[in-house]
């Protein structure tokens, strides 16, 4: 498997939603493929209910923060945090949100205009159906690999996931697969306001 090209990702959610684990999963997978990695995490008071943002970069640059308007992909574990960090995504970038609800239409209009493709997936519910709400983050990772936009293959995620938190391996791999299956049909499609009937 090849290493991903230069990529800038923002991951966000609330403290306790597993943003840090998701960041680790993505970073370690990229590393296993030979990529250089730079991640910036928020710590300390973020555990006590605050917003968490991770900046994740594969490639040569060693700048820890990603400038607004330059992130290739934004992954948000809830809708509010997606809205809070939306300005990070670049034109023609991608947005993945864990949410039961869609983005407000007034936002969708801007995304369409900027060529930003957004994908919403109710990962909390899928996770609950699998047995634990805490796996929404892993489902999103699977979804990401299914969408085929980050240059990391599903297999690479599988390998890394089974070494991280081995005690939850079986459930985690199932969650990853569910996310992947949800992502595959959406490859190359953009979800516009018109198509969500």
């Amino acid at each position: 498997m090849n290493k991903p090209n230069e990529l800038k990702m923002i991951l966000t959610g609330l403290g306790g939603q597993g943003v840090v684990f998701l960041t680790q999963l993505l970073a370690r997978t990229a590393l296993s493929l030979g990529s250089t990695v730079m991640v910036s995490e928020t710590h300390g008071m973020s555990q006590r209910g605050g917003s968490v943002i991770s900046h994740l970069r594969f490639g040569d640059s060693e700048s820890p923060l990603i400038q607004k308007g330059t992130a290739d992909i934004l992954i948000a574990l809830n809708l509010d945090e997606a809205l809070r960090t939306l300005m990070y995504v670049r034109p023609n970038g991608y947005l993945i949100i864990n949410s039961e609800k869609y983005l407000p239409e007034k936002i969708e209009k801007h995304l369409t205009r900027l060529g930003i493709q957004s994908f919403t997936i109710p990962a909390d519910q899928i996770a609950l159906d699998l047995g634990s709400a805490k796996m929404a983050n892993v489902i999103l990772a699977g979804f990401l690999s299914g969408l085929n936009i980050c240059g990391i293959q599903y297999e690479a995620f599988r390998l890394t996931l089974s070494t991280l938190a081995p005690q939850y391996s079986r459930l985690n791999l199932k969650a990853l697969e569910e996310g992947f299956q949800a992502g595959v049909p959406k490859t190359y499609l953009s979800v516009s306001a018109a198509s969500r009937q």
Partner: protein, 641 residues
């Protein structure tokens, strides 16, 4: 922009491709550097963003089987002095803290600059531009400047790791403490770093024992003058020291424009990325040792330019040392904002603005103002930090507030319990241990002002041990009268559950030789009224608060102390595990929001229609404390027997 790995002659680390590459936190990378470079004693006090440095030392000393003594000291001055004595004994040592911790360790720092050191001595002081979780955005490099010790300013986790060896080399060559200064975006950044195969560092060959040196270690003021002259001379020599060239870079693209940048630390990386994003090439001088700055490097760089932009944070360390003022743009002339973190957006905007002024074409990253405006119009819930569901401090603060109400003065302190301000039971916090001293001061002021409000100070167990004891001695001795609630959750919670002097285990898991006793310490300060209570037991807690208040008022009274004793719910979840009290909000709830605003537990939220309060089962930990929060009785245990 790859910084090559520096070769350090005294380390024989095999660098072949079969060695593991790990993702390390910047702080852990520093810890690895300390172990790899033969640090024998590493001390620290927890403080965001520095806390993981010691944890990194512990991880890697175990990984490589190295004999390194590691210690969570009681405070930063203690940590500094313990490590200093080790250095005076000819061994390499280090001390780690956050930037405000350097204030606490400043006393020995300034003195040690004069006396010098023997074994290499590194002070890791982590700055927090922003600030993200500190009372100030002060610049440790400027403390280095005032104390006259050299300071290294790494720009990435990998660089910080590699600079440790360099720091020890300079420290031993010139016999001075050296400050290594990472910032939050490095401390908590994660980068791929190749681990050394093995570590073969040997100790210095001077016998490694403390040698008497009266003109240094016991220099009286007359001799201190001589030491000062020596120090000044050292600084002059260090200035032109060849700090490993790998840490400097002098990027001169062929285009030759008139604007250049001098930068150091994380901001350097931000600036380089900004230049890429702006699609412009400029000469950039990266500084590895901001103080004492190499005047020759700097003047050579500035000569060929018309304008030089200084990008550093959080303050003007490099900028102040430049004799050339006409060409320089930075914080002093307002080009760079005087407060706040230098984010990519700000750095980009500064560079862009300057270039536009100088007539250079750029392509700034467009910010879509339309989408921004739409986003700003959406009201998002405010996510401020809050005490965890089930936190004993919440119950304590709630009861304190219930007893004394708004007509009281609440000096607070630094820790998780600072968040008592959400319950409006913290009015001030200044620094570690400040709650007790401020209460003392408020008492004196109240006497003069004829202010009859009760004074209730709150402090945590770790903070009390850090710097609460002397203030208590002072208060009792001088006859001050206030209530002090020591919120004892058995750990240093906010920074990651590091052990304190009352815990049975030490930093690396070994048994403590002895444990201190807060109640004995308090008694020894002369306090007559001490009660211990579980904050969950509201009635008893409130009764004690009443008695405490009486004690502060009666003729024979004085300071009254209540020890609020309940382990942190995250640190010791088992303690509360058998006390499960699921609750529900009854139909009669009228949505007055008293519980949300005054008890403010994250487990309580408004129903979607906003009419009533409901329990958020994802966050509720079934502590049952909110039953007391609703004075109307609308929150009840689910199984009432």
């Amino acid at each position: 922009m790859n910084v090559k790995h520096a070769n350090n002659a005294s380390i024989m680390a095999a660098q072949n491709n079969s060695q593991p590459i790990e993702l390390l936190l910047g702080n852990e990378a520093i810890g690895l550097g300390l172990v790899e470079n033969g640090c024998r004693v590493a001390t620290a006090y927890p403080g965001t963003p520095s806390s993981e440095v010691l944890q990194g030392v512990i991880r890697f000393k175990k990984h490589y089987g190295r004999d390194v003594y590691t210690e969570w000291s009681v405070n930063e001055k203690v940590a500094f002095e313990v490590a200093l004595a080790v250095s005076w004994s000819g061994l390499r040592s280090s001390v780690a803290m956050k930037q405000v911790g350097l204030n606490v360790a400043a006393d020995p720092l300034f003195s040690a600059a004069y006396t010098g050191v023997e074994g290499g001595f590194i002070v890791i002081s982590a700055d927090d531009p922003g600030p993200h979780s500190s009372q100030t955005e002060q610049d440790s490099r400027m403390i280095a400047m005032t104390a006259k010790v050299p300071v290294l300013d790494p720009s990435t986790p990998r660089e910080a790791y590699m600079m440790v060896g360099e720091a020890y080399r300079i420290s031993e060559k010139y016999k001075v403490p050296v400050i290594l200064r990472p910032t939050t975006r490095l401390c908590h950044a994660v980068q791929d770093i190749q681990l050394p195969t093995e570590i073969l560092f040997n100790d210095l060959g001077n016998g490694n024992k403390f040698q008497r040196q009266p003109t240094r270690w016991t220099a009286t003021p007359k001799f201190r003058y001589l030491l000062h002259e020596e120090l000044n001379q050292k600084i002059i020599e260090i200035q032109e020291e060849n700090v490993n060239d790998d840490f400097y870079s002098n990027y001169h693209p062929s285009s030759n424009p008139s604007v250049g940048i001098i930068s150091s630390g994380v901001v350097f990386q931000t600036a380089m990325q900004a230049l890429i994003d702006l699609n412009v090439q400029l000469p950039v001088l990266k500084i590895a040792m901001p103080y004492p700055i190499s005047q020759s490097r700097v003047s050579e760089f500035i000569q060929s330019l018309d304008v030089v932009l200084i990008l550093e944070e959080p303050d003007v360390c490099i900028e102040l040392q430049l004799p050339e003022r006409q060409k320089v743009r930075g914080r002093l002339d307002g080009t760079v904002p005087g407060a706040g973190e230098l984010t990519p957006e700000i750095v980009s905007s500064i560079i862009d603005g300057l270039l536009t002024q100088e007539g250079v074409q750029t392509q700034p990253i467009p910010i879509d103002r339309e989408m921004e405006e739409t986003l700003n119009s959406i009201e998002l819930p405010v996510r401020k930090p809050r005490l965890c569901p089930g936190c004993g401090h919440r119950s304590a603060f709630f009861t304190i507030k219930k007893e004394f109400g708004p007509k009281a003065i609440y000096p607070g302190d630094i820790g998780c319990y600072t968040l008592g301000m959400n319950l409006r039971a913290v009015d001030t916090f200044v620094d570690m241990g400040g709650s007790i001293t401020m209460a003392n001061g408020f008492f004196q002021a109240s006497k003069i002002n004829q202010d009859t409000r009760p004074i209730i100070a709150t402090i945590g167990d770790s903070t009390f041990l850090h710097s609460g004891i002397e203030p208590l001695i002072n208060a009792v001795h001088t006859g001050a009268r206030f209530i002090l609630v020591i919120l004892d959750n058995h750990t240093t919670a906010m920074t990651g559950f590091q052990p304190t002097a009352v815990n049975k285990t030490l930093a690396d898991g070994r048994d403590a030789a002895h444990t201190a006793s807060i109640i004995d310490l308090v008694r020894a300060c002369g306090v007559d009224f001490i009660k211990t209570a579980d904050p969950y037991d509201h009635e008893e807690f409130q009764a004690y608060l009443k008695q405490a208040d009486e004690h502060t008022k009666k003729d024979t009274g004085g300071v009254a102390i209540i020890i609020s004793d309940r382990p942190c719910i995250l640190y010791d979840p088992d303690f509360a595990a058998d006390r499960q009290i699921p609750v529900m909000v009854t139909e009669e709830c009228d949505g007055c929001k008293y519980c949300l605003e005054v008890f403010e537990c994250p487990g309580l939220s408004l129903t979607p229609d906003g009419d009533r309060v409901e329990i958020d089962v994802r966050l509720c930990v079934n502590c049952g404390q909110c039953v007391y929060a609703c004075y109307k009785g609308f929150i009840v245990p689910v199984n009432i027997e």
